[in-house]
Symmetry: C2
Subunit: 129 residues, 2 copies
DNA sequence: CTGGATGCAAACGCTTTGCAAATAG
DNA sequence: CTATTTGCAAAGCGTTTGCATCCAG
């Protein structure tokens, strides 16, 4: 998958491996700076873009335009509240069969997928009545 | 679903009904202006936000932060190329059963879902070899 | 009259880009 | 020594917000 990694790309990959959750580029940047690295924000974005293109890293874009990055193939999907924006992770995922089917029928090389349900969480159903 | 609609919200809903595809707020705005409306861009955003919150309109956010709007419950999912960004619509959708299940188990009132596969399209598999 | 809706322009936040310095091979 | 990578700062871009005006009821 990965051809050649720069030192910073390796550093970023390593950081992602130590995480349970997807992280934004900016949070990843400050996190790296706090461990003493002098890495720039642009480099973080460029590295994530490269890792994304070779399928190592996967991205989920929030409705505010912010993107969350994590290692690819970690299957975690969400229930997202349209009002408060909270995302509840869910375990179910019924789409793997479809994935291999699409690989063939569309000549598309699929790295990963995202699945997200939108609506109102229990709390916001009351507020927005 | 809808409580009360302002004149502009109705106008926007009408515009969406005439469309085959999801549209960005900005494109929707210029489209409305071209038909002689004096509507402002902010109003388009505010109307779409309101329609989103009552479940009439659904949103898909692209990786560049731009959001595409369409009437809710139109089931259209995508194969999206990580390199060129092209989105190929697909018909398959294996998640409806799960949807009602989640409604109950998480006390979440689900309006719609998005499902998207990411990878490389046939063309970009060659280029990026 | 009064509260909400609207248009405009400015502000915002995340991301991308230009560029010169640093680094790798 | 040349090509690539890097950090910084500035620019870009879609979206949101402040505010004065307009409009419906």
């Amino acid at each position: 998958m990965a051809i050649r990694l720069t030192r910073n790309q390796e550093r970023i990959l390593q950081a992602l491996q130590g995480l349970e959750q997807a992280i934004s580029a900016q949070d990843l940047h400050s996190s790296l700076r706090q461990t003493g690295s002098r890495i720039g924000l642009a480099t973080v974005y460029r590295a994530l873009e490269a890792l994304k293109l070779d399928g190592t890293v996967q991205v989920r874009t929030l409705s505010n335009g912010e993107s969350l990055y994590s290692l690819a193939h970690e299957d975690r999907h969400h229930l997202t509240c349209l009002r408060c924006g909270d995302s509840l992770p869910i375990e179910e995922c019924p789409v793997h069969d479809l994935e291999s089917h699409l690989n063939d029928s569309h000549h598309f090389r699929i790295f990963y997928h995202t699945l997200e349900f939108f609506g109102l969480c229990a709390k916001c159903q009351i507020v927005s009545g």
